[in-house]
């Protein structure tokens, strides 16, 4: 009760609880049923929780370290434990909420069976450790800062760390300590990289050990800076070494996982079982447009096999046509024309992955193909209708695209 009355840490849980509630109710909770995406989706909240925990831990540490409070701490043999206790009152509830939110995602996604998935568990552990890390950062900084500055510096330091060790380093394709997830698109068919998660865990544990080893020293009534600067410096060196030597991909390791839930013939449609929630709707929509194309002579628009695509798995068109499925989009009225058709028609070409805009002819062809397929399938006209092509014209465009001649 003393800590609840005297620290800010325990109270920040209320804000954190609100952040998770907001996160989990966004966009109709499309992550349901996809355990990996659930983990990644939860991580979005860490962009708020991390700086918040860091700022509040910094304030609490600064209040404990005030010169007029040194009389309580200096004579004891538990100097470090004073700060550890304050830190725990902030991070333990925050971590508890994070783990509870994870359990909720699995419960609502009917995926509680994936609790036994070691890699998913490790990824959640890394996220939990990151919350502790943010707290450690704030607590260390707070020890040597005045109360008025501590919260601001703690929060800004955490935001900066997220950028430098997470978001900002993503483009460099290097190991990034704070690459904790945060995906807002399906992560189906992917799996975590054990080495990456182990390295993150090791660094977080190292940070904890450095924190625990940092002595509390006073000089002229204030806490000395060196016990704070030395562990921070050592940790920065460790992170730099890890970014140079560690793996670059947190996910996408091993052979791509293919969708395993296949139904029907001509076309056979294969989706991932994690998305069985929307499978019937997707299957029905795709089958309808393929069967319609086939019956109206557009054989080029009637693949024998359609598979769900991921960022790791993209079968060649000779094996199967493919598309990504985002459960959040499937509910939309124009899903077939706005998502399914463009997804199925999209050629696997390097030029389309470059930052440059695609050729104008490609965009025109795509518009005409969608317009044609919509008319053939009897779907309501799309906003920009385009030209209805003949079966031969459709086949010709798709042949060109097969060669990446866009």
């Amino acid at each position: 009760m003393y800590d609840v009355r005297t620290l800010f840490g325990p109270w920040v849980s209320i804000v954190i609880l609100g952040a998770y509630a907001a996160n989990l109710t966004q966009r109709g909770a499309p992550w349901r049923g996809d355990p990996l995406w659930s983990v990644e989706w939860l991580a979005i909240t860490l962009f708020v929780v991390g700086p918040l925990v860091s700022a509040v831990s910094a304030v609490d540490a600064a209040r404990l370290a005030r010169p007029d409070g040194a009389y309580l701490i200096a004579p004891t043999r538990r100097r470090r434990r004073v700060f550890i206790r304050a830190l725990l009152f902030c991070v333990v509830p925050a971590i508890g909420i994070h783990l509870f939110a994870y359990l909720l995602t699995l419960t609502f996604g009917h995926a509680l069976s994936s609790l036994g998935d070691v890699l998913l568990g490790a990824a959640v552990l890394v996220q939990a450790l990151s919350i502790l890390w943010f707290g450690l950062l704030g607590s260390l900084l707070g020890r040597v800062l005045p109360v008025a500055l501590a919260g601001l510096v703690g929060g800004v330091a955490a935001f900066s760390a997220i950028y430098a060790l997470g978001l900002g380093s993503g483009g460099a394709a290097r190991f990034a300590l704070l690459n904790l997830g945060g995906a807002s698109v399906p992560q189906i068919g992917l799996r975590y990289n054990t080495v990456y998660l182990l390295l993150q865990t090791t660094l977080f544990v190292l940070a904890l050990m450095l924190f625990l080893a940092a002595p509390i020293k006073y000089r002229e009534g204030r806490q000395s800076i060196s016990p704070v600067a030395i562990p921070l410096g050592l940790f920065v060196v460790a992170v730099i070494c890890a970014s140079l030597l560690g793996p670059s991909d947190r996910k996408f390791v091993g052979p791509p996982i293919r969708p395993d839930n296949c139904h029907g013939v001509s076309p056979t449609i294969c989706l991932y079982s994690e998305q069985s929630r929307v499978a019937a709707s997707v299957d029905g929509s795709l089958r309808r447009i393929v069967v319609a194309a086939k019956s109206k002579g557009y054989a080029a628009l009637a693949p024998e096999r359609i598979e769900q695509r991921t960022s790791a798995y993209w079968p060649p068109r000779s094996v199967a046509w493919s598309l990504r499925v985002d459960p959040a989009d499937v509910r939309k009225i124009a899903w077939v024309q706005e998502h399914a058709m463009p997804g199925l028609l999209l050629p696997d070409c390097e030029v389309l992955r470059s930052p440059e805009p695609p050729p104008a002819r490609y965009l025109t062809d795509m518009r005409d193909l969608i317009a044609t397929w919509s008319v053939v399938a009897g779907l309501p006209p799309v906003e920009d209708r385009g030209v209805v092509l003949s079966p031969a014209q459709v086949a010709q465009i798709l042949d060109r695209w097969e060669e990446c001649d866009l």
């Binding site: 003393y2 409070g69 009389y71 200096a74 004579p75």
Partner: protein, 256 residues
Amino acid sequence: MHRTQHNTVEQPANGAPLLVLDDVVFERRSGFMLGPLTVTFHLGVSVVLGPNGAGKTTLFDVISGIEKPSSGRIVKADDQLLTVGYLPQLPRFPERATPRQFLEYVCWLHGVSKGDRKAAVNRALDRVGLSDRAADGIKTLSGGMQRRLGIAQAIVHSPDVVLLDEPAVGLDPQHRIELRRVLRELGREAILILSTHLVDEAALVGDRLIVLSGGQLAFSGTGAELASRASDDALGDTPLEKAFSTVLSMPQGRQS
């Protein structure tokens, strides 16, 4: 720098706690220097006297561990760690907590076992006369009550050494009298070191008076010994005040 005491660490005669400052020096960035100081504190009440800036608070900070001596050492005679309780001049209290919660926290800080905490807190509250306010918010306590709470936090874990920097500040006459009784009691259980500006008050409770001047030991002895130093023309209204002024006016080399 003049050395005021011998440099041999004294041994306790009967196993009682003994706090030894052995050639201790502490230098502040401002240039102020405490020591070199070699003093032995025994069980009982030692009162540190001195004008503003003499080094009383610095001495307490060094003994409490807030400051590390620039040189020299602070030891218990048998080389074991001493437990210390410290009330500074201007302590900060957790105003939202109650006295009981605060004292339980202090017990935790000092490693008092969970089973012993309640009794320790009750004893400390009782000693300083705050038992009936144990469940009230600290912010609702008067300045004098907060001072007494400060004393309670310094003694709640039954430390070997109790440091009280101006403990009587803010107390009304009745509580000052009560405080003297408490201090004498504490002096029988611990090495009690307190500071005050009031020389006569010091003689009433102190088994031993220590006068600091400019960071140096100017006098160490009983109240009677201090009184014997008084010169008639010194400043002061009482013999002890005159003696105090006399000691402070003496050249450093002639002090003891």
